[in-house]
Every structure is written in structure tokens, then in C-alpha cells.
Symmetry: C6
Subunit: 263 residues, 6 copies
């Protein structure tokens, strides 16, 4: 039968227990008040579940690529200290057909119905339904399954928090994949935020920071940054290979700013 | 053969007998005359079946998401006290292929042909045919099966009431899935209705209610509410986590009103 | 082989011998001269087959939903008193795949080639090919099969009358599913026709009839009815649950008229 | 292997040897010089094959539905008196999947490569590739197979004439299904042609013919007929059930003329 | 495994060794300098492979239907006298599914990697990928396979010449099926070219040729011919069945000219 | 299970260890400063991986067909001297279905997770997902798999460099297949660059080079070359078959320039 068959579906790359941890490996930098607000919002939803006020709550973290959605969702989930926390990523389902994906997802939800407090993180949910804007293409079977599961009240006394992330919020709306609550995760926006990250990285002196910020403003002709935290951190790593670390960093970030404003 | 094969299709999440009951768990709040009218209408259709005047009647409850369609359909079905009442939900068919879905549905109808008075609730019937507006996509096999079953006169002396719910009425019309009768289920519309619910929740004093209503009107600049009962109840639960319960409630509902008028 | 495999296809809901009879259960009300003309036309086609003048004749009964097409086709077929008469309905093929549907249909035709005079009723033929206007979708395999069968001269001395019904005549034309003859089945159109049905139902006095007709004209502002016989009969059944039977009937019919003129 | 598997494909309705004969059962009425020209043209192509001047020739007979294409193609094929003549009709392949259809067709061609002179009639070739204008839909696998076979030079000394019929010539052009030669088969066009058929049917006196023609001209307001021979013959059969045979015939033909000019 | 499975795929019509020869059966008529130029071009590409200067070269012969592409590609391949020469035609793959077609093609290329000098002719390559302009439809799996194979450098010392033919050059460009070199094959264009072919056929005297050319110019009102060599040769064969061979030839060619200029 | 099943997928053409080497067989000609810059950029990315600063880096080499992308990616990968380097080409997956392709790719990545420093070259990545602009068509399953794998952080201490090549950069953007870094590979652009290659080929004297350049400028009326290195090298090979090597080379290159500016 169906549930028995579940045993036979193994993700191609395994599902390690460390996945959640790896998503927040480098720690969260509180580079802007948004970060604090997002984490506080998350704590509130966690409490709504822990107290059993609401048996089922689905929350969507949305924002541009590399803005830190996965790291923040993982942080919220880990901070809940719920007995059952599970991260599901698209790569976990690579090589599965639609039926196997649905079984993998439903096993996660079924498992979550057994613990007194549960959190499931559905990472990059638009890729989970194989969304591609060309066409557009998507798996309507997996989509239907996720809709069904996210609408299915858990058994009494097993409240469930579903945290999903996406960089394609309007796509989810078109697919009528609805959430009870939403949290926006913005890019690094201001020079101040960028400076905060540079300092915390320990790779730049205060003078370096001033110089880099100045060069970026000059190159881009604007004080607006709008680059994801991921891009900023990768920029630091690239710059560290260079003799002129500060100049290279300014160069890389300026390019990223230009790319984003062109897109 | 076909009917024999039916035994092998088990829904991934089981079909508990308590499903119908859980849909009306918190009781029905009679926050507006519409609620009474809907229930009375439902009673009339139930009688038409009970007296055998009409052997087969299909009724569609339609309205915005979270307006209470499923709760009201469940209430009408349970109040009929028919010997056979069955709720079918999309989640019951997650992980089934088209053939299995059709078998699951047809088993429900076949079972319903055995009892002297029968009611079947098809919840979120647009999801039952896997409707997605992008494409659009839907399962034409399941659609054809539902059309066939809803048009199939039951055996003599086994009258059947089919209650379906949808938040996509025009989609059903486009799909030519026709019903003999229709019932509209509206959102919470007036301040008076909202106040009714707040009071009945036991979470707010009369002064709280006045203050919340006032703040909502000020924030939204309108006396019009247009939020589903589900959103209102969830708003109360969220507000209860906050020190300023009334202020938080006004905030949450104002946001919901804004979201709905933007959509 | 193919024909042997036929034994394995069983309709999900069985094919009872009483199906034809049930389609005309309540008798035919001769509420307008059209009804007589349709039945006479049908008799002529039956004769053309009985005398063997024409070996194969396909006739399409088309008209709005609920106008009485199936009842009239069944009546014509039963009145022929041919040794082989068979009704095929979409619901008989629910849960079959395309190949099974084709086998089910071809078995019907093959059986029909064995009797000295044969009639096959294909009910709601647009649903038989799984037509859905969204897309549009349809089964081109079943369509091709029906075309082939309806064009296939039966063996010598086994003339065959095919009676098909549809509420989607233009769809059939687009699908190039052609018939040798056509019969239009209109809705109840005039007040006189409506009065005829009310009287024959035995549920209304002459005064009731006058009052209902009057109220309908007043509500709709028109003398035009344009409601299917099915809608009229269901309206009577609904009205019979009400204390003010006549008033309720006028109400229900007025709504139906409004719905139809809006569509 | 492939060729071995051929044995397992049996058409649902059998392929009787009498098929060709039945297509010309009633004889060919030479109601217009076109009929003679078509048959002479056919004889010329037959000779080109018989003398071995051309090893492979594909000819398309095209014209409106019911204009006599199949009867004329069958006549030409039978008159060739070739040792191998085969008629392939869409109904012969009802219930086959694409692979089976291709095997059925290729078996026909393979068989045709064994005889010193061969003719294959592909009737309603647009239905053979399951063409439906809605979509449009068609079987590209069967289409590719037919293209391949019609382009494949037979073995030395086994010349092959392929006669195909269609009422969708432009469709075949769009599908790039090309023929080496084409023959147009027109409808009954003039009053003189219609009179010819009426007289030859033996069902009308000269006066009857004059009266019918006159009434048709009066009803339609035109001397143009443009009805297929099939429609004319069916009209005679219908008329024969009537007391006023001539009047009824004029009526039926006038309707057919109106239908055709409306389409 | 994969390569082992290759043994099981047999073309429905066999692949005779004589195929290449049959494509040039009647000999090549050098009716225009283009023919000489095409053959010389082919010899140059053959040399580039024979000397090992280039390990892999793909050449496309393109032109209107019946212009002689296959005959010329076969001539070039045969004249190379390479130890391995293979012709692949769409008809060789009739009845194969996509996987079987790919295996059939890849076996041809794998075989070609074993000989010191190799030539593969892919005839009507647009049909090999099942191209149909309606849709459009094509096999993207076979297309991808051909792209992969045509880009795959053979092992050292096994240079390979791929000659492909098509009458749909722009289609190949849209499908991004690219070739390293291209050869255009034109229709018979001038009266002089037509006269050359007529004379070489031995079926016409010089006076006949003059008369035919004159009549064609008069009928078509132009000196431009633009008919494929295939059409010209078929015209001669048809004309030979007629008493007035010259008049009939002029008629047939004039029709072909008209058809081509209409298309 | 899944990973066990991997053993059963063997590429149709084998995966030789020499593939990477063959891609740079003729050596890299440093005909322009771009070549040096590209190789230096590549070295920097290699260092970022070797030092473990970045655990996972995906780089896209994009440019026109035949511009040298594969050769340069192979050069960068080989120069890294990482213990694990793997080239994956579309032809390696010819004849595999989607599941097999995904397994082939995932096996490559899984293997790459075992070595202390890893590089994977995904050649012509748009063909890996079977992209065809007509439709457009592509394999969304393979695309999803590649997205998942390119986003999957390798285990600790197993940093991975992914080098991909494409001539369809905007397609990848539309498919939302994103890379952390990008390198542009241009065509041969200037007369100076062309002269550089001609000289290095050893096939032309300085006078030859001058003459060829002059003739090309005269023929094309422009000093702009814009032909891929592959086209230039093939042009030299073709020219070497000709008596007038220089004149022929100028001719071939002029044609290539014309083709490119027409496209
Ligand atoms: N606030 C933060 N402070 C420090 N590091 C962060 C922060 N947010 C994210 N990161 C790091 O930035 C990287 C990218 O973040 P993450 O993967 O969460 O972004 P994302 O928005 O989920 O990206 P994607 O759209 O690709 O899914 C990770 O390495 C993560 O650890
Ligand atoms: N009149 C009511 N009084 C009190 N509670 C109600 C009422 N109607 C609905 N509810 C509650 O509100 C919640 C949502 O209602 P329900 O699921 O019936 O809405 P719905 O319209 O079916 O939503 P959806 O569109 O998502 O299917 C449920 O918890 C239900 O118990
Ligand atoms: N002339 C009539 N007199 C009395 N009852 C009729 C008449 N015609 C139809 N009915 C009844 O009306 C009902 C609906 O008719 P029927 O099913 O034949 O309509 P239909 O046009 O086939 O509908 P649909 O479009 O849904 O297939 C049936 O119960 C039938 O018995
Ligand atoms: N010239 C003719 N003289 C007498 N009878 C004819 C003639 N041509 C056709 N018929 C008869 O008319 C009927 C229909 O002709 P036929 O089936 O050949 O037409 P068709 O063009 O093939 O029709 P369709 O388009 O439906 O395939 C047949 O019964 C045939 O015997
Ligand atoms: N130059 C020529 N001289 C004599 N006969 C020729 C010549 N070229 C082609 N033919 C003959 O003309 C016929 C058609 O030519 P062929 O099949 O090569 O044309 P094609 O362009 O490949 O046609 P298609 O577009 O249908 O594939 C063949 O019988 C071939 O032998
Ligand atoms: N800089 C160079 N110096 C010398 N030879 C080169 C150079 N770059 C490429 N080549 C050679 O040119 C030929 C084509 O180059 P390559 O296959 O790398 O181009 P590509 O851009 O990958 O082409 P495609 O778009 O077809 O994949 C190869 O034989 C390669 O060895
Ligand atoms: Mg993420
Ligand atoms: Mg509901
Ligand atoms: Mg009906
Ligand atoms: Mg025909
Ligand atoms: Mg050819
Ligand atoms: Mg390349």
C-alpha cells in the first residue's frame, strides 16, 4: 500500500540532520532592524503554535535571491526548540518523480503529526513544484499535494508551523498557493548596513570600509546598495584573494549593484 | 476487475470519521442573517431529498476563501441526520493518480447508493479537479468523472444530496460543471457583524470592541470590512499573543482589509 | 486479442437494462407542437431503417441543457420496438481509460451488427469525448473511434439507427463529428407551454396557473420563458416544499429565466 | 521482433475482402463529364504502373464530404485488375494505438511489395492521422510513417499505385503530406446533373423531375445545386418514405443546399 | 546494457545494401553547371576527410522538394569510395519509438568510428526529427541526439563526413541544428536546362523539344521553369503514355510551373 | 534503491578519460588579451576553491558558437590540477531518458563530494536541458536537477568549482539557472587577431597574411571580423586543400563574416 511504499523513496543526496544547522553556519549578522523584526515576528508565530492557540499556521518568507530567507527561516525554526523540526529542500527531491516527491513531502507532514509541537521548513517552495517561467512549467501534482497538506488540520494537540521561502512570491499567488501570514526579507539596502557587514567580517579596517563605500558610491553614482547578503559575503571572499582587497571589494559590489539595477 | 481494485486505494492521510465534525469544531456563530438564510436553504434541500420528491440534487456553496463554506456545508449535512453522510476533501486524494481519484470518488457515490437517504460533501471541488489558473491546468478525467456521477440518477429509493464548495465559481462554469442549485456564502461585511464575532469570542469587552472598530475605520478609511470569518478568528488568535490585544486585532484586521481590497 | 480483451472492461456503475426506461420515467408531456414534430420525425427515421431503405443513419438531437433531449431520444428508440436498442451514457464509462472507452463503444456497435434492426443512443456525445471548453480539451482517440464507427456501414441486412444527443452542437461541428440528420429540441418557450406543464403536473389549480404566469411576467418583465422542461419540473418539486406553492414556483422560474438570459 | 509482432494486431472490426466492393455497391452513375474524366485519369495512372514506367505513384482524390471520392477510388482500383488491391479505412484502425496503426499500415505496404502490380487505397487519409481541427490535433507518428511509406520506392518489378482520398486537402498540404498527382471530385453542381441522378434512380417520372427542380430553384432562389452525390441519394431514400415523394425530395435537397451555402 | 540492447532494434523495412545505389539508379544528368559545381564541392569535402585535415565535417545539401538532393548526396558518398558509407532514411525508422530511433542513429555513428574513413548520409533530416509545421511538432529527443552525434569528434584516425539533405533549411536553423558547410541544390531553372534533360531522355526529337518549350512558354507566359528534376522526369513518364507525347509533356510541365508559382 | 540503480546507466558513447584533453588538443592560441584575461579570471576562481574560502562556486563561460568556450573551460580545469576534474557533455547523455540523465549528473556531483578539491565542467549546458527555441522545449526535470545540484553546498572540506559553457546566456536567465560568476568569451574581432592566428598556424607567410586580410576587407567592406576561432581554424583547413590557399582562405572567411552579420 501507499504508506508502505514510502520506505522505498530515498533522496538522491541523503537528508542529513545537519542541514538546518548548515543553513545558518556563519551565524546571523544583525545588519539592520529588519533582521530583528523578522526574528521577532517568527518568535510570535512560534508562540502561537506552542500555546496551541492555532493548530496550523503557514508563513511565507519572501524576498530577492540571496537575501537570507533560508538562513532566517532555519534560525526561527531552530530557536523554537520544537521536538520536531524538519527542513525540506528541492535538492532533497532531485531524481524523484512526481509521486515520489509527494510521498517524500507527505511523509514529512505525517511525521510532523506525531510530535506535540512541530515545524516544517519548505525551502524555495517555487522550485519544489518545479516552477520555470518559460512556458510556464510546473508540477501541478506536487502543487496540489502541497496545497492539500498545508490546508490539512493536524490531529488534536499536534500543532504545526509551516515556514516556506520563495523568491517568486507573485508566482505563488498565481498558483493560488496561499499562506496565512507573510514575512518580507529585504536585500542589504543602505551604506550603513553594508558597512555593518564589512566590519563584522573582520576583513576590513574602518578606513577600508570608508574607502570602499566611497568608491562604490562614485562608481554607481548612487547611495542605494540593494544587494543580497549572500552577494556581499561572496564579494568579501573574492576580494580576499586580491592584493588590493578594498578596491576589489568595491569593484565586485559595484558590479553586483549594476547587475541588479539592470535586471 | 474495477470494483475489486477499489480496495487497493487508500488515501495517504486516512479518512477519519471525525472529519465532518472537525470542520465545525468551534461551532457556527450566527453573526449575520445570511448565516440563518443559508442554513434554512440547506434544510429545504435536505427535505426535498428526505421526502423523495427529488431523487438527486446537487447544490454549490460558493464564496471567497475563508468565508465559512466548508463549515456551513458540514453543518447542513450533519443536521440532516441522514444515515449516510460523507465528506470528501482534496487532501484525502493527495498522492493518488487520476484513476485512483476517480475510484475514490466513485466508491463514495456507490456507497451512497445503498442507504435510504444520502449526503455527500465535495469540499473545494475546484481543487478536486486539480485546477490551477496558470495554464490553466486541471484534470479532465476527474472532471469528467464528477460530471458523470453528479448526473447519474441513484437507484430508486436512494435519493442523494450532493453539497459542493468552491471559491472559484466562474471556473466551474467554464468547466461546465453544473449544479441544480447554488448558495452564496459572503465574507464578514459590516462593523456590526465584526462586533458580533468579537463579542461572542469572549476575548473582548464592549469597550474593546468599540475601540477596535473605531481604529479599523480610521486606518482603512472605510466602514466596509469584507474579511472572511476565518481571517477574523485567526486575527483574534494572533491578537491574544499581544499585550495590547485590541490594538493588535485592529492592526491585523486592517491589514486583511487592505490586502483584500488590493487583490 | 482485442475482442477477447473486451470481456475485461466493466463500467464502474454497471449498465442496467432499465436505463432507457428510467430516462422517460415520468412520461412525455406534449406541452408544445415541437414535441409531436420531434417524435414524428423520429418515427420517420425509424421507418427508413426498418424498411432497410438506408443501411446506416445517424441523427443528432441538439438543444439547451435540460430541454428533454435524452428523454425524447429514449422515447423514439423505445417506440421503434427494434430487437436491439442500447443506451450509452458518459457515466457508463467513468473510470475507463481511452482504450477501454473505445472498446466499450465498439462492443456496442459490434453487438448492434447482429440484430435485424438496431438502434444505439449515444447520450451527451460531447461528454463521451471528454469535451471541456477550457483548453479546449477532448479525447481525440475516442472522437476518432466514434467517427469511424458512425461511418462504418453495418453488414448487409443489419440496418442501424444512431441517435445522439448534445447541448454543444457547434462543438461537434468544430470536431467534424458529422451526422446525416439533425433534430432541434427547444426549451419551454411560451406562457401557454408553461401553463400546459403546470396543469398536467396536477399540483396547481387553474387559478394557481394564472397567478404564477402573471407573477413571472411581472418579475421578469417579459412573456418569454426559455427554461428547459427539467428546470420547470424541478421548480415544481421545490415549490411543493413551500406553503405558498404558487408564489414559490413563480419565484424559482423567474430566477431560472433571469439566469438563462444573463448567460 | 517487429515484423513478428505484426501478427498480433487485429483490427477491431475485421478487414473483409468485400470492403472494396461495398464502396461501389450501388454502381457509379455517370451524372457529369467529370465522372468520366476522373475515371479516365485513374486508368492512365494505372497504366503508368502496369507498364512499369513509374515504380511508385501517389494520387490524391480530394473534394467535399459525400462527393463520391471513396466510390471512385475503389472503382479505379478494382478496374485495374491488379493482383494486389487493398483498401485501408480509418475504422479498420479504431482501437489501435499509434504503434499498432503504423504496423497495420506497414503490413499493407509490405504485402504490396510482393505482387507484380499493386494498388493501395488509403481512405479518408486525414482521419488516418487522427486530424481534428480543434487544437489542431493529429498523430505525428502515423503521419511520419505514412510519409516514409509513400516515399519508399518498392523493390524492383513491384510497382505500386497509392490512391488516397480526403475532404481536407489544405490540411494535408499543411502537414506536408505530398502526392505526385491530384484528382478533384466535385459535388453535383447543375440542375442537369441532379436531373440525371433522379431519372437514373427510377424513383421519379420526367414530370416529377421537372417539378422538383423547379421547386428547388424557387426555394433556394438559385440554379446552383452544390450537394454531394451522397446527399442526393439519401434525399431520394428519405423522400421515398413520404406520400408526396417529389415535394419531400425538393424540400430535403433545398435544405441541403441551404446548409452548404451557410457553412 | 544500452549497446547490447541495440541488437534488438530492426527497421520495419530492412536496410538493404542497395539503398545508396537505388538513389542514383537512373544516373546523374549534368543538365546545368550547378550539378558540376555541387559534385566538385563534394569531392573537396571528401578530400578534407580522406587526408585527415579535419576529423569531423558536417555538410547540408538543401533545396526544394525533388531537386535531386538525395541523388547528389548519394553520388558524392559513393564517389568517395570510403570503406564505410551509410545512408539513413526516415523510412528506415518507421515504427520505432524515440529511443529506438536514437539507438539506430547512434549505432550508425558508432559503426562509423571503426573505419579509417567514413561517410554517413542523413536523408531528409527534418523528417528524421519528425518535423511537422503544424504545431510545430518535432522529436526533441531525436534532435538532441543528432546534435550530440554531429558534434562528437570521432576517435583519432577515424575522420567522418556527415552529408545531410533537407528541403526545410530554415527549420533546421530554428531548431539550432548547425552544419559546418552548406550546399544549395536548385530546381531546373532555364529552358536550356529543360531541353538538356528532354534530349538526354531519348524520348524527344529536337523538334519535339523546341515545340514543347514553346508551348510551355506560351501557356505559362514566362521563360522561367523552376521545377525539380524529379517533376521533369515524372512528366516525361506521364507523357509517354499519351499519343501526343510532346503536347502532353508541355501540359504537365506547365501545370507544375503553375503549382510552384502559386505555392 | 536509487544510488544502486546508478550503476546501470552507461552513456551510449562511453566517457573516456581523454575527453578533457581532446577539447584543448591543438593548444590555446593567445590571439588577444581577452584570452589571457579569461585564463587569469579562471585561475582566481580556482584559488578561491583551493584555499577553501568558498565551498561552492558556479561560473558560466558564455559567448557565440565556436568562440572557444569549451577549450578555455577545459584549460582552466586542467590547470587547476585538482584531484577530481570531470567534463560532462550533452553527447555523453544521448539516448538516456530524463531520469538517467539526472542520475548521470548526480553521480558526477556525488563523486565530486569525495575529493579535497573538485572541478566539474558542464559543457553546452543549454543542450543538457534539451533546449530548443522552437516551442520552446526543454527538460524541466533535468533543469530542476541541475538547479538543485548547483545550489547544494558540498560536505565540509570538499569545495567544488562548477564551470559551465553556453552560447545561449539569455536562455539560461529565462530558465532562472543562475551562476555566482560569469566570463564572456568573444569571437575573433580584429584584423590583428586574425593575423595572429594565421601566423601561428604556420600555413601562411607574412605576405599571405597581408593579402588575405586585404582581400577580406575589400570583399566585406569592413575591418570587423567577428568570426569564432573554430571558424577561422576550419577555414585554414579548407584553404589548405586549394591551390590558391590564401585566396581561398580570404573567400571562406569573407563568407563566414557575411553569414554572421546576416544572422
Ligand atoms: N543576516 C545574515 N547574517 C549573516 N549571514 C547571513 C545572513 N543571512 C544569510 N546569511 C548567509 O548568506 C548566505 C545566503 O543566504 P540564504 O541562503 O539564506 O539566502 P536566500 O535568500 O535563501 O537565498 P536564495 O534566494 O538563493 O534561496 C548563506 O551563507 C547564509 O548563511
Ligand atoms: N459562521 C461561523 N461561525 C464560527 N466559525 C466559523 C463560521 N464559519 C466558519 N467558521 C470557522 O472558520 C474557519 C474557516 O471556515 P471554513 O474552512 O469553513 O471556510 P471556507 O470558506 O471553507 O474556507 P476555504 O475557502 O479555505 O475552503 C473554520 O475554523 C470554521 O470552523
Ligand atoms: N416532454 C417531456 N415531458 C415530460 N418530462 C420530460 C419531457 N422531456 C424531458 N422530461 C423530463 O425532464 C428531465 C430532463 O430531461 P432530459 O434529461 O431528457 O433533458 P436533457 O436535454 O437530456 O438534459 P441534459 O442537457 O442535462 O442532458 C427528465 O426527468 C425527463 O424525464
Ligand atoms: N458517381 C456515383 N454514382 C452513384 N453513386 C455514387 C457515385 N459516387 C458515390 N456514390 C455513392 O454515394 C455514396 C457516398 O459516396 P462516397 O462514400 O464515395 O463519398 P465520399 O466523397 O467518399 O464521402 P466522404 O467524404 O464521407 O468520405 C456511396 O453510397 C456511393 O456508393
Ligand atoms: N541530376 C540528375 N540527373 C538525373 N536524375 C536525377 C538527378 N537528380 C535527381 N535525379 C533523379 O530524380 C529523382 C528525384 O531526385 P531526389 O530524390 O534525389 O530528389 P530530392 O531533392 O532528394 O527529393 P526530395 O525533396 O523528395 O527528397 C530521383 O529518381 C533521382 O534519381
Ligand atoms: N584560443 C584558442 N587557440 C587555439 N585553438 C582554440 C582556441 N579556442 C578554441 N580553439 C579550438 O577551436 C575549436 C572550437 O573551440 P571550442 O569547441 O572550444 O568552441 P566553443 O565555443 O566551445 O564552440 P561551441 O559553441 O560549438 O561549443 C576547438 O578545436 C578548439 O581546440
Ligand atoms: Mg534560500
Ligand atoms: Mg473550505
Ligand atoms: Mg441528456
Ligand atoms: Mg469517403
Ligand atoms: Mg531526397
Ligand atoms: Mg563548446
Amino acid at each position: 500500500d501507499f504508506l508502505g511504499a514510502l520506505d522505498e523513496v530515498h533522496p538522491l543526496f541523503g537528508v542529513s540532520e545537519e542541514d538546518l544547522g548548515r543553513a545558518v553556519e556563519g551565524g546571523i549578522i544583525h545588519f539592520s532592524p529588519h533582521i530583528d523584526k523578522i526574528l521577532k515576528n517568527g518568535r510570535d508565530f512560534v508562540n502561537q503554535i506552542r500555546t496551541g492557540t492555532t493548530p496550523l499556521l503557514s508563513v511565507l518568507l519572501h524576498g530577492p535571491r540571496g537575501s537570507g530567507k533560508t538562513a532566517l527561516a532555519a534560525r526561527i525554526a531552530m530557536d523554537s526548540e520544537f521536538p520536531f523540526i524538519r527542513l525540506v529542500r528541492p535538492v532533497d527531491m532531485v531524481g524523484m518523480n512526481e509521486i515520489q516527491k509527494i510521498q517524500h513531502l507527505s511523509k514529512t507532514f505525517t511525521d510532523a503529526y506525531k510530535s506535540p509541537c512541530n515545524a516544517v521548513v519548505l525551502d524555495n517552495i517555487e522550485l519544489m513544484v518545479d516552477w520555470v517561467p518559460v512556458g510556464p512549467r510546473f508540477s501541478s501534482a506536487v502543487l496540489a499535494a502541497i496545497k492539500g497538506m498545508m490546508d490539512n488540520k493536524p490531529p488534536k494537540g499536534r500543532p504545526l508551523l509551516v515556514l516556506a521561502t520563495t523568491s517568486e512570491r507573485t508566482v505563488l499567488q498565481q498558483l493560488q498557493l496561499n499562506f496565512k501570514a507573510q514575512i518580507a526579507v529585504p536585500n542589504v539596502q543602505t551604506q550603513q548596513e553594508l558597512a555593518h557587514i564589512m566590519k563584522e567580517s573582520g576583513a576590513f579596517s574602518s578606513t577600508d570600509v570608508q574607502r570602499a563605500i566611497g568608491e562604490i558610491e562614485q562608481t554607481t553614482g548612487s547611495r542605494q546598495i540593494n544587494v543580497g547578503i549572500e552577494g556581499v559575503l561572496l564579494g568579501i571572499q573574492t576580494a580576499m584573494q586580491d592584493e588590493d582587497r578594498t578596491g576589489r571589494f568595491a569593484e565586485v559590489i559595484s558590479e553586483a549593484i549594476a547587475d541588479n539595477s539592470a535586471a
